[in-house]
Symmetry: C2
Subunit: 709 residues, 2 copies
Amino acid sequence: MTDANSLIPFFNPKGVVVIGASQDPTKLGYGLANNLHRSGFKGAVHFVNLKGGTLLGKPIYKSVLDVPDPVDLATVLIPAQHVIQILRECGERGIRAAIIGAGGFREIGPEGLELEREMLQVAKENGIRLIGPNCIGLLDTHLPIDTTFLPPPGPTPGDVAFLSHSGAICAAAIDWARGQGYGISRLVSLGNQADVSETDLLKPIAADEHTNVLVLYLEGIKNGRRFIQEAREVVQSKPIIALKVGKFESGRRAAASHTGALTGSESAYNAGFRRAGVLRADTSEEMFDQARALAWCPLPEGNRVAVLTNAGGPGVTAADALEARGLAMTEFSEKTIRGLESILPAAASTQNPVDMLAGAGPDEFAACLRILLADPGTDSVMVIFPTPPMHTAGAVAKAMIPAIHQTEKPVVVSVMGERLIQEAVEHLRAARIPEYRFPERAAAALAALVKRVNLLEYAAAEPVFRDDIDTKKASKIMSGSGDTSHLTALETSQLLKAYGIPAASMRLAETEEDAVALASEIGLPIVLKIASPDISHKTDIGGVLLNLADEKSVRSGYQSILNRARTAMPEANISGVYVQEMVPIGQEVIVGAVHDPQFGPVLMFGSGGTEVEGLKDLSFGLAPLTELEIDHMLSKTWAGQKLRGFRNIPPGDINAVREVLIRLAQLVNDYPQIREIEINPLQVFPDGKGVSAVDVRIRLDSSGHGSQI
Amino acid sequence: MTDANSLIPFFNPKGVVVIGASQDPTKLGYGLANNLHRSGFKGAVHFVNLKGGTLLGKPIYKSVLDVPDPVDLATVLIPAQHVIQILRECGERGIRAAIIGAGGFREIGPEGLELEREMLQVAKENGIRLIGPNCIGLLDTHLPIDTTFLPPPGPTPGDVAFLSHSGAICAAAIDWARGQGYGISRLVSLGNQADVSETDLLKPIAADEHTNVLVLYLEGIKNGRRFIQEAREVVQSKPIIALKVGKFESGRRAAASHTGALTGSESAYNAGFRRAGVLRADTSEEMFDQARALAWCPLPEGNRVAVLTNAGGPGVTAADALEARGLAMTEFSEKTIRGLESILPAAASTQNPVDMLAGAGPDEFAACLRILLADPGTDSVMVIFPTPPMHTAGAVAKAMIPAIHQTEKPVVVSVMGERLIQEAVEHLRAARIPEYRFPERAAAALAALVKRVNLLEYAAAEPVFRDDIDTKKASKIMSGSGDTSHLTALETSQLLKAYGIPAASMRLAETEEDAVALASEIGLPIVLKIASPDISHKTDIGGVLLNLADEKSVRSGYQSILNRARTAMPEANISGVYVQEMVPIGQEVIVGAVHDPQFGPVLMFGSGGTEVEGLKDLSFGLAPLTELEIDHMLSKTWAGQKLRGFRNIPPGDINAVREVLIRLAQLVNDYPQIREIEINPLQVFPDGKGVSAVDVRIRLDSSGHGSQI
């Protein structure tokens, strides 16, 4: 389903037939016909309805089989139960693309889902690509074409493409665009995505020369890995912004480890979007605020912002908003300050934010803006002003436009107010300069530009793989036992070893004598741990004894651990007691991974120990990992920052931690049947001294069985 | 300066004189005269200008001394250097209130500050209250009066009062109000606040019958305690929303403890606003979004929201936005579901969010809204819709209004779009129903209503004091030594004891023999700690030895601690080694307080230990503490949650922790000269077993000296 050529008729059809066209202006079938007619589409337009007749000066054919050439796209607005028959006729007529507007499929329950599957089957048999069902269609303002049934007016032509899982949000987006003064290039309502998905359309939409930015409203992603693959390529030339909703419904899954409980689906989406270089918007308002900035502004070289204003309050508000979003205030050069002083009254502030005072008019705004843009320390500029008391906001805006058009640096404007500033807003919009009513929104838009620069790096980064993995051994362990839902502790330990992940030596003792023998083999002191697939948090039931230094302690420890476990969990299946090397205490971190249904394996890193769920000092990244992603995971957590040393805690062996992350990511990437793996703690020793995995849990596939060491 | 009667002329003057009135329409002095004239003010209006003449059909007097009765408010728009003389003349003329619009005072530097002080002195001598200088004036749309010089049109009359430290934000606010469809009751630009401050005006503004909500734009608060006192009373009847800017500039002060470094001025503002019952807005947009909801809606009984919509996407988006803001989705009763089923098509969703499907029109919206409001599980309703494909948004909005007016529950509406929905917007605004273009903003407005309910409780809560404090002893310690910048360890220990805060016994050993004797007195095992006012983080230099169990260890420990300290910090002033009781390990929390310049003592609570700065698991509350505030501090931190027990960590003695918080708050409240106090760790033993302060730092006044035990 990835042949891009098969999608061409959706965006550049030679002829479109409206199946279900209606003469009744209150019907959607009339709305669609009228929109298509009105849109200025230059290809052929045909109408089909069983009743026949004429519509908008054209004949209504009774069957799609009667429709003359050219026709290569069908838009289908008829009751669900008739769609399959119509698709067969479309196939017969040689039509290879259809937009199914009708609802009554998957969204109404099992019966509808069955119908949708059957429809898809028929479409495949007839070589027809489908958009929908249960969608409002698509439009292209430049071609132009409009196959939606939304009430007019359609959107203004522009450079923002919008793809949406929700038709209602499409309708809202068109109207929001009108209010916020940007135009739309292409808009697609994806509906149930029986066939064509958001991922399929990324490249076709990005290929449109009129599109500068892609905005996605997503309720989920079917295949996260494919999405990343496609998006990574697209974002190299055009930014993608995604609003992903359904946060609170997703990802409440059963989990047997900290990692499983803590790696929600949202963490996977965040990691996935970052890997793909996709900017994730937090709100509907923000997604379009950011779209304007990304569509119209050059990218900044860094995060230092100069603020220009005509009063103190807006300057402080802007500085707050910028710093809250991770941007920095430019420190002006001497030249800049002297330049500002030569223009402004003595009482003005020539430090950042520049307060020109209330008397400033168009000339001062334009001249100071040029000075700020010329400062090599300025990466971008935010101009913020309410209507000046002695000038119009329109005149101020107009005066600044040439300077903004001549610079390579982004400039965003916050014209504070609503009615008095309409002329300013119109000037700025016409000049394709992003403007916002409220300073915080302008700051967020600038922040999106900086983020876009970083995301380009994330998308370009290549995953790291190690080539010294003992793949033969690993593969033997993973498939050897015949029962892949379960690995013995020995196997788990060997698996880590095969991937070059240092772990504490450990063996299973089934008797007290075993324990004594193994302790002497491993070397005293040792640790004893209860061995049971049913006991998840061993310390909770007193199932771990540390630092046993002589035979006597090993013997009594063996018995006491067994007794405690039997008392605490009489039903638990106990295979014995593990005898483990006593690893010294280092910085305790947690490293783990879960298999996300959309994005596959997601790595987790953070502060380890028993309080992981409480401290929530965690970060996530998609496997396989890139070096940049590892930087991110380390820098976002206190555990990662602390590895560089803190007060009397010496620097930990960060490189060894990075190796563990790389190798663990490689392991879970190689073996998708690993559902959860967790090392907690990974003891991190001082720089150069390495790391050691002390407690490891693995859960394979969905059977719930797993292995712990 | 708190005589409320003296402020009456600002809001209800009998006659106003514009000093600096101008005939030149490009001058602010004309703008002010014209606004006052145009405003419909029913009292007398007089103009003064040295040049004389006439203006707007009235004579311009050459001196304020010539102005006839009645006149009790002067608005002064003349250069700064002439203001003092004019104030003297106002005094002579019997005017007791003046608004000083002129700039050129404190905001331009030391010279201006001097002039401002002199002006204030003259005003006091003449019994004149001042608003400003450097402000744009005030207005009241109901009286009406307008003494601003802002370009017309003025704001629509309404119920939102706005007080601002920034004149420019006043101008913006008036224009924002026009765009967002709410009116303003009173607006005051406070300028430099030489005399009248935001705090002075809270009650006078709240007393206005037309004002339903007070919105404050603050760049700081001079006297945080007085603000809280006044605001606490006001919020009992009318909500206050504050946007406090200057976050990133404030509060970078030198600090000798974790508490000092971590309790930024912003934490104090947050704690202060909470204590005062003031809703803190995060952005300029939010402050007015919330104002509309608070001005127009009844308060909800709880946080359960029912969502009504005509499509899936908006429903999911709304649910996300609501849950992200801490609101819950109502679980509908059987009756509600049956009611919805009787109206809606089978494919509709009768669960929350209710998706009526695209065909829903005015009747369905109104009927379903009534059903949702009737559900006892519904505390509030959010209606969200784009323009329905077969109906107008206006008709839908209109149909819902009666149901909204008849309910005691708040209803907010998100009409998604911009142009097609204008009629709906107008209907809703006219009906005083808050409406928002974007769903996330509507959700935030509902959240503000719920927060208002909680804040009422915070504001009503009374601080807790213990009456078993040994005040005599405490007072002797704090004043006894004659050198209040320094307390000995013994004094610190006694001070805690006087306030009933359990601490580990500790004594200072000045020789090895001392150490041995004290160890035996306290009882082995003991802890040794370096005693030096110059060594802040003792463990960092190896200055702490735990668990010394015999005389030999005490002797060698004494010497080794001294050696380490001398090696690490040769300059440090070392008074010996503390011998301390070896306290068992419990849950380690940090409890501390700093003296904030605006709000006085602020308590801190959180996860203790050496990594406090990294983990940042902290919460703050103003001293003296209320029980509600303590609940808040405990529930907001992992340290506090963990006290209820977690996995194999038994519940800690929460009541003992609460006692420490109450008593420490009482201590710092009693002795403002305590700049910083920190107990880290406070060992919290299992429930019923109490707590023990193990390491305590105190810094007094601003000298930097202090004491540690």
